[in-house]
């Protein structure tokens, strides 16, 4: 009996070994031609054999390109269209001889899983988009993606190069590993998510207070709001993700005292330090601890998601939020729609005792990147597609906006194979300027881009409605709040931008070994400690203990590794 059992088990093992063996063979034979491919058509071969590079040259016969798309769940297609067959795939075939074959498409979160499976099973598409630097660094380190350095020089159109370099080469440097350009990055830094102060107008007028000039004034207003009416439960918003939520985190107040949580910034001696463990952070936490004690923030903030805090804003429980540009779009437009409530937007204000420069921390880029699989015969296709997209969408002279970007019903730009499409940096900022000028001077010659057209149309409708005594639609109100005048979301962005008030983490696109192991654990520690000090379950002086713990858990090593990298970069 026992012997037979053993025999049966051996048999299974044998079978699985054979299966495994087959698989291995399959992998090898699949790999083999690719290797030769690569040798024949490496970058050197391209420059030697092929005629001079033409950024817009049409392939004849057409080339097949397998791609994968990180689908946008909000995308709608005209009847019959899909990612497989869209205005982009048809035109690219017709104009450029590029035949796109969609390998697969998935939305946001599952995209990374699917990409990892493609990597593990050796089924990478020819061109693909990556979503974070970890994946990018690993693929590059594993030599699975193509070095684009020379191809970029040869094939990138002048406009592509211009747009990519508009930020002074910053985003390009994040895609460069060991001097080699390994991917085409999303261009520019996302400035618009920096914090602004949103104050409910009807309550503010009723309070009879002056416009705020310091953060303390804002807290005074919050206090006045709350004390006026027991229905108004708290002064300002705060949610579970205290350090990086966007709607209702503490980043604004942190910046107001010169603290930059979750970012690596340069200290006076030129070394990089981690913002969450600097003494300024203690100050910011202290401010919130006081607010908490006073009852100006929801004592249950630590369990609440952003959506639930949004509810507090729209149901009249809270009248102030220090958040990102999109608040007028969501959730404030809901309140405007139901009750016509207006909001005023202010640039971030410093605490009165803060003597430093007021700087606003931008989000740290995550690593959106387009790359080419090593072994693909036509790696320059990536650049050609981007050239084409820029030509059709962003090029002021050649763009065919209705066909390629959007009409009233559909947004075609997001369905492009490579998205986002490069364009002039900070176009939203520019839209603010041109829409404001066009409305103020009643002159539509300022309106050029399709985005400007759409937003100008809405803002104009807003004023038409107001002037004729009607209530503007929520969409129109939203456009007005985002784009019109210096007090709109993007008006304030322009103010920040003109006064050079942005600060970005110096560590982008690079992860030290210890960091990839401990990052999330350390962030968990940060969250726990900060919440504990705000809610008073730990005294503020626990901060020093927390910093020590952060160091012991790996923070010290990370700091060392980061500075080693930083110094080698300098």
């Amino acid at each position: 009996m026992k012997r037979l059992l053993i025999m049966a088990f051996t048999l299974i093992m044998a079978v699985s070994v054979i299966f495994g063996g087959c698989d291995r063979k399959g992998e090898e034979s699949k790999d083999a031609p690719e290797v030769t491919d690569e040798q024949n058509t490496g970058t050197s071969a391209v420059t030697e054999e092929k005629p001079p590079a033409d950024p817009f040259g049409k392939y004849s016969p057409s080339v097949k390109v397998k791609w994968a798309k990180q689908a946008n769940p909000a995308t709608d297609f005209p009847e019959g269209d899909s990612y497989e067959n869209s205005v982009w795939t048809r035109s690219l075939l017709e104009d450029m001889g590029i035949e796109l074959e969609l390998d697969w498409q998935v939305v946001d979160k599952q995209y990374e899983t699917k990409m990892n499976l493609a990597i593990a099973s050796n089924q990478l598409p020819d061109i693909m988009s990556l979503t974070d630097y970890t994946q990018f660094n690993r693929l590059a380190g594993a030599d699975r993606i193509v070095d684009l350095t020379e191809l970029y020089e040869d094939y990138a159109s002048p406009l592509l190069k211009q747009y990519l370099m508009e930020d002074g080469g910053l985003s390009k440097s994040w895609a460069t590993i060991g001097g080699k350009l390994m991917g085409l990055p999303r261009n520019g830094v996302n400035f618009q998510t920096t914090r602004k102060i949103f104050i409910r107008r009807d309550w503010f007028e009723e309070s009879g207070m002056d416009k705020p000039e310091t953060m303390e004034d804002v807290f005074d207003i919050a206090r006045a709001f709350k004390n006026k009416d027991p229905e108004r439960r708290y002064g300002l918003t705060l949610a579970k993700k205290i350090l990086d939520d966007g709607l209702c985190d503490m980043r604004g107040v942190c910046n107001a005292v010169g603290a930059y949580p979750r970012a690596w910034i340069e200290d006076s001696s030129g070394n990089l330090v981690y913002g969450s463990v600097q003494p300024e952070m203690k100050k910011a936490i202290g401010i919130y601890a006081d607010l908490h004690e006073e009852g100006l923030i929801d004592p249950e903030f630590a369990v609440k998601e952003a959506a639930q805090v949004a509810k507090q804003l729209t149901s009249g429980q809270i009248g102030i939020s220090i958040g990102s540009f999109f608040l007028p779009g969501w959730p404030l437009s809901a309140l405007y729609k139901s009750e016509g409530i207006e909001w005023d937007i202010y640039p971030l204000l410093p605490m009165s005792d803060y003597k430093g420069e007021l700087k606003l921390l931008t989000n740290t880029p995550k690593g959106d990147m387009h790359v080419v699989r090593k072994g693909f015969k036509h790696p320059e296709v990536l650049l050609k597609i981007m050239n084409y997209e820029i030509l059709k969408v962003s090029d002021p002279d050649n763009a065919e906006q209705e066909k390629f970007q959007s009409d009233e019903n559909y947004n075609y730009a997001v369905t492009a194979p490579l998205y986002p499409i490069y364009g002039p940096l900070n176009k939203n900022f520019k839209t603010n300027v041109s829409v404001t000028k066009a409305i103020d001077n009643n002159d539509t010659s300022y309106i050029v881009t399709p985005q400007e057209k759409v937003q100008h149309g809405r803002v104009k409708a807003y004023f038409d409605a107001v002037n004729s005594g009607q209530t503007p639609k929520p969409n129109e109100w939203k456009a007005y709040k985002l784009f019109y005048g210096p007090d709109s979301s993007f008006g304030i962005q322009n103010y920040y931008f003109d006064n050079d008030m942005y600060i970005t983490s110096k560590l982008v696109g690079f992860e030290t070994p210890e960091m990839s192991r401990k990052k999330l654990t350390l962030e968990t520690l940060e969250d726990t400690a900060v919440v504990a000090m705000i809610t008073g379950s730990k005294p503020l002086d626990y901060f020093d203990e927390y910093v020590q713990e952060w160091r012991d858990l790996g923070g010290e090593l990370i700091e060392y590794e980061v500075n080693e990298w930083w110094n080698s970069k300098k």
Binding site: I12, V15, S16, F19, G20, D23, R24, E27, D31, E112, N116, I119, A120, S121, N122, T134, Q135, R138, L139, G141, A142, D143, R144, K240, I242, P299, E300, A302, V303, K304, E305, A307, Q308, S516, R517, K518, K519, L520, T521, T524, D527, T528, V530, V531, A532, T535, S537, L553, G554
Partner: protein
């Protein structure tokens, strides 16, 4: 006669087993070879069949990872409570429901109690954050009527594990009663009739007919649930926990999520999975052989 009978039966038994055997061999045992990853350093550059062996390095890494012990204890604590409650509640409810004589009522209640099973934790957790709030939640308002101080169900570390267990029971108990109903309805009604003729009371019938009738299923599910001893429910905790309760709410899955999945450390994730499998196998096989030795009963 006897011999030929056994021989004859044997063959059809094997034929019956064959399709399932092959499918399981390919789709379950095939991938099990991938557990080798637990002893390797996963490298994107290489095929999955050609990875570097690192021995027990991954296990050393996990066991030495900050917070591992805490997560292990939290997992055990929450999982054991869940196992126990998922054992007792569905059995009790199905026995009580079995005593309902109005058939339509029985059916309605059955249909309603399994509704929560269909809601995802994303939705449920947002509902619970509202109704469990200490200041405005309806649960605490009821407790207030009874003169009990508000409880911060989701924010108080000592309470949080119990909140997790209670909400999980709420979500799943209905669905888990179904299998006991099946067992209850397999009990021969003649037994009850005979007992009634003997004048047996309700409690007596429950104790002597109902419970023994579903005993095999109870034992089976009890044993198999031991396999989940290191599984405290990722989706639930991930949606419900928060910085206030990391000390009691951080479990193995959330820890793995932090070190493994987010950073694509498949080798580490595999090692934790293997650790879990070994513990489950040990527990299940121990109870299997205990039952077979002590009670001469094969659970499966």
């Amino acid at each position: 006669m006897n011999l030929s009978r056994i021989k004859k039966t044997n063959w059809s038994y094997y034929i019956m087993l064959l399709p399932a055997f092959l499918l399981v061999l390919v789709y379950h045992y095939g991938p099990i070879g991938g557990l080798a990853l637990a002893f390797q350093k996963y490298n994107f550059a290489e095929s999955i069949f050609n990875q570097e062996w690192v021995g027990l390095e991954n296990f050393r890494y996990i066991f030495g990872y900050p917070g591992f012990t805490r997560a292990l204890w939290n997992t055990l604590f929450i999982a054991i409570m869940k196992l126990t409650a998922h054992f007792i509640v569905p059995i009790t409810v199905s026995i009580l429901l079995n005593e309902v004589r109005k058939v339509y009522l029985k059916r309605y209640i059955q249909t309603l109690i399994y509704l929560p099973h269909f809601m995802s934790w994303v939705i449920i957790s947002s509902i619970f954050i509202d109704i469990l709030s200490p200041s405005e939640g309806i649960v605490n308002k009821f407790l207030g009527l009874a003169g009990i101080e508000p409880v911060y169900f989701l924010g108080e570390p000592k309470v949080f594990p119990f909140t997790v267990v209670a909400t999980d029971i709420w979500k799943e108990f209905g669905f888990r009663t179904i299998v006991y109903f099946a067992a209850l309805s397999s009990i021969d009604p003649n037994l009850y009739e005979a007992a009634e003729i003997d004048g047996a009371k309700r409690m007596k019938k429950i104790r002597h007919i109902t419970i023994p009738g579903i005993m095999p299923i109870i034992v089976l599910l009890g044993t198999l649930s031991l396999g989940r001893i290191l599984n405290a429910g990722f989706e639930q905790i991930f949606n419900m926990y928060n910085p206030l309760v990391y000390s009691t709410g951080d479990i193995l899955d959330t820890l793995t999520y932090r070190i493994g999945i987010v950073n694509n450390e498949y080798d580490i994730a595999t090692a934790i999975g293997l650790f879990r499998s070994i513990v489950s196998l040990l527990l299940v096989s121990t109870s299997y052989y205990m039952a077979s030795k002590l009670a001469n009963y094969r659970i499966f």
